[in-house]
Symmetry: C2
């Protein structure tokens, strides 16, 4: 691991000169809020030496230049909702908070795009688009709290990726501060472009290691006025899973295809205090959403969806009302009821491998003492495996989790999968990234990182061990 210079009083003074003194924090009480994100295991917390809350790209540029001059690391913090320890300053140094870059700069209805500062909350961007009859199609589950810049940094996915793709597909261009402190715009509001390297796509998903995103221009699309939500209940997971390819090939273009195993059906129903959910005891829920621009199209697509679900062995095909979506939204929080400590994973595999992967993981899980729960965006191959520690000892938990991960990741890679579909690698999976990424790919990533960030200033200890 790189050795950095501590943040001295001299650096603090220079930071204060850049942002004004009130935006530089050194009190331990204040710094404590930056020691973690959605991480709940205190052994993974890390206190920064200082935090700074800049107002704009110019200030960030000066801060990054200072970091290069004095050689201290910078960890960017947006909504603090990372599930991969992405906002934890694992090498100490400075935490840089994006909350003041919160302006919506322009919504252009004719051009169907919106330009915002990177610290705008995703939900506010969604609302602004909707108020103009348009849709911003990015929709991570944490939309209420997360910020758009961080959605780009992790290439966030979410619930609507089956139809609309992930964050990288919603972006026209971005402004960033490079690892050496320049302010650079990458990309333009263009549908086609063959004019040099696609830098914006390189930056998207780079988890703050190649640049600090300060401004984003996203695509907006016409908002479909019609929508239906189907709940297909299965009692055999195979039947639920093998329905997916049929659905995807039928020209229905669903917005969401979500899967909750029976443990989630029971736990989320309990958590939400819903007492009469269908097949509470043995049901597996698949929620399918379809959106259209025409009512007749809606009707005929709904008919197709119902037929496909019935023919594939669903025991019940119902309308998915608000309660069902509320259960879906609470999959994560319902785990707190089951186990104080639990671990969320984010493996992704090719869509046509998701059925066999879920089967395999359940089979692997049988050998372990913890509870294995699965919910999945089955329309895009992304599954969240939750392990509940229950009353296991710390030692047994650690050993089991490590062994389980090795088995699951090895299987995922054997079918062409990857470690993370939407949460990113962060600090949490860094060692697995080094272990499982094919050498040639990893070597190119490190070559790029070292060339662009020669002093290893931006977000060290995350994504790759440069």
């Amino acid at each position: 691991m790189e050795t950095y210079q501590p943040i001295t009083p001299e650096i603090i003074e220079k930071l204060k000169a850049i942002t004004g003194p009130s935006y530089v924090k050194t009190d331990k009480d204040i710094l404590l809020q930056y020691q973690t994100d959605y991480e709940t295991d205190p052994r993974r917390f890390h206190l920064p030496e200082a935090a700074v809350i800049p107002a704009n790209a110019e200030e960030i540029s000066q801060i990054v230049k200072l970091a290069n001059e004095y050689h201290f690391p910078i960890t960017v913090r947006s909504g603090g909702t990372s599930l991969a320890d992405g906002a934890i300053p694992v090498c100490g140094g400075l935490v840089l908070c994006m909350e003041r870059l919160n302006k919506i700069i322009e919504l252009n209805e004719e051009g169907m795009y919106m330009t915002v500062e990177a610290g705008v909350r995703t939900v506010d961007l969604q609302k602004e688009a909707k108020a103009h009859g348009l849709l911003y199609a990015g929709d991570p589950s944490s939309a209420e709290s997360c910020m758009i810049g961080a959605n780009l940094a992790t290439n966030a996915g979410g619930l609507k990726a089956v139809r609309y793709g992930v964050t990288r597909h919603q972006v026209y261009c971005l402004e960033m501060v490079t690892p050496t402190g320049d302010i650079v715009e990458c990309g333009r509001i263009l549908k086609k472009c063959s004019t040099g390297y696609d830098l914006e796509q390189l930056i998207i998903g780079s988890e703050g290691t190649l640049g600090i995103i300060t401004k984003v221009t996203v695509k907006l699309i016409p908002l479909p006025p019609y929508r239906f939500d189907v709940l297909a209940v299965y009692t055999d997971p195979r039947k639920a899973l093998y329905m997916v390819p049929k659905l995807l090939k039928a020209g229905i273009d669903p917005t969401s295809v979500e899967y909750m195993d029976n443990s989630y059906v029971r736990d989320t129903a309990d958590y939400c205090h819903y007492s009469d959910m269908p097949h509470y005891e043995d049901g597996i829920y698949v929620i399918i959403t379809v959106e259209t621009f025409r009512e007749d199209e809606l009707d005929s697509k709904m008919e197709s969806v119902c037929t496909i679900c019935e023919e594939s062995g669903a025991v019940d095909v119902l309308e998915a009302d608000e309660r069902i979506w509320n259960m879906r939204r609470n999959v994560q929080t319902s785990c707190e009821m089951v186990s104080k400590v639990f671990l969320t994973d984010d493996v992704v595999v090719p869509v046509h491998k998701i059925a066999s992967t879920i089967e395999k993981i359940m089979e692997i899980g049988e050998d372990y003492p913890f509870q294995v729960k699965i919910n999945a965006h089955i329309g895009d191959g992304n599954l969240h495996i939750v392990l509940c520690k229950m009353d296991m000892s710390d030692e047994e938990w650690e050993t089991s989790v490590e062994k389980f991960h090795q088995q699951v990741y090895a299987y995922a890679y054997s079918v062409g999968g990857r470690l993370a579909g939407e949460h990113g690698i962060g600090a949490k999976k860094l060692k697995y990234m080094e272990e499982f990424t094919p050498k040639g790919e990893l070597a190119i990533m490190k070559t790029i990182k070292r060339a662009m960030d020669p002093n290893n200033i931006l977000n060290p200890g995350k994504l790759i061990d440069a």
Copy 2:
């Protein structure tokens, strides 16, 4: 410009040992076919010192290692259809032909993807998909001759980009030989991925400067069974152009929106010997294609399209039959009839700026002695400006073209446009790339190029002056 070592008899022997002697060409008669691509100006031709036709990635890897050892440049040649001098070996050295990498490796119907070698012709890939009831949505106008690897290298666009996006949106993953000779796979068959830098998107559009693409896995999608083609005839270009935003916001999701100015209507009708085309004398043609999965959806969308065209001032709204598409396909060749020498350009601007851009270009063109013709993919902001030399002197032509380009490119950049929407920069626009690209962006591109290709072996003299 970099100084390279000449290709010596010693190098030729080593090349022959790699591919077998019959696949290494040094006869001048044979090399002449590699001195140009779609370039017609002999002053831009350049003879390679040798050509090699490898069989696979392993041979290419050895050749690239040899090039690094002896320091000679490699220019990759696929279908030779570049409109940007992309396949011309401007620094001499070796031309590497991809034609033997022509195998379709796998079409997976369940997973909806196809893996092919990079030298497969795009049309063969399209046909193979169709034979399985699936669609490969990439469709450059040169599909009959060009190869899929080169489609990736230039991020080719084409006729269906309005609905389906450009080549970069059709690709799951690729295999490449890096500039230092390693064989590396980038990307996987995943709908979501947040596991490291998106190397495949960096390689796509890099015009052979960051790697030689040897294998490609593309997305296939369900093939829509229904389709209609509307020809909207306008006599006022403004009315035609200002119709586009309305069409794009109506939730119709058109596949193509093509524009031919009246000079093209007349020239292509003459070229095709069609004597009774509507509004031959004063018509501007807009062709709109819509594809659907349901017949009733087709009907209601056709109605919407016709209404939008009529309300926007079309003088005629007809079915676009095969003759209209034949005219569209011959826009380029019809120019040969008008002028022996002509120049095709490929500027791209934000879609909502295309109307004002076309107006501005016509206005600029009035000051010049050459004929300015415009056809455009107006649904995606990409316009092809053709300049016809007619009987101008070489000197006047050169000076006028240069001055015209400066004006047009400056205008395009002022509205957020770029030099090339789908043809790439190649050697043709290298100097404009240096001139018009914002410094920060260009610096990052060069940093990446130098880090990945330290000996500047791959395609020097193209895209950027590294």
